[in-house]
Symmetry: C2
Subunit: 120 residues, 2 copies
């Protein structure tokens, strides 16, 4: 069973839509990098049971993304905020070399802080 | 039955999680502002049937927000982007009065355009 890296993102957004048991197993697998056998041991069920449960949970997460598209939306947001950060950094750099207006530096700094907060 | 304005926001995010029938009725009610009686007429069911269906759909939308919190997250994003826009506008205004550096104007303009795109 190949680990699908996208699943970690989906878990972050939609994990609360899974049953607690599903969530625990898929988090062990994707976030804590435990093997199926280790999870089976922890949970006192078979390796196949763990595998089925994780597969089902993955299917649900992928379907949620297909319906809601929120991970995609947030990733676009992240990309836009990254560009805002770069543009604000350019303003500061240019301003520091030419004129050093305090007002411009303060506003550009505000923009960078806001963009960083929103990105996290 | 009082209309809950928050529902329109929730519909925008989570509408795809409802059944098609539920979605159609709740959209008539919240987005198109039809009365329960008008929707009952359109759908060929009783007014009480429409009311029950809309109430159930509202409950589901509210529960989705409680689990996922995405409307809240996006509203925080909107508020942050609004502040970024204002700060970039201040940079442009200040710059136009003092020095008019093309580079600063172009970067601040980029920031405004990016923030507006992300806000929409």
């Amino acid at each position: 069973m190949a680990k699908n890296l996208e699943i970690s993102f989906l878990l972050d957004f939609y994990g609360s839509m899974l049953t607690e048991k599903q969530r625990i197993m898929i988090e062990y697998y994707y976030n804590d990098d435990l093997s199926l056998a280790e999870i089976a041991d922890n949970e006192g069920i078979t390796r196949q049971g763990v595998r089925d449960s994780i597969k089902r949970a993955e299917g649900q997460l992928l379907e949620l993304e297909e319906r809601l598209g929120l991970v995609k939306r947030f990733q676009q947001m992240q990309a836009g905020l990254e560009k805002i950060l770069l543009a604000a950094a350019e303003i500061r750099k240019y301003n520091q070399k030419h004129g050093s207006a305090e007002k411009i530096d303060a506003c550009a700094n505000d923009i960078m802080q806001l963009a960083e907060q929103l990105r996290d």
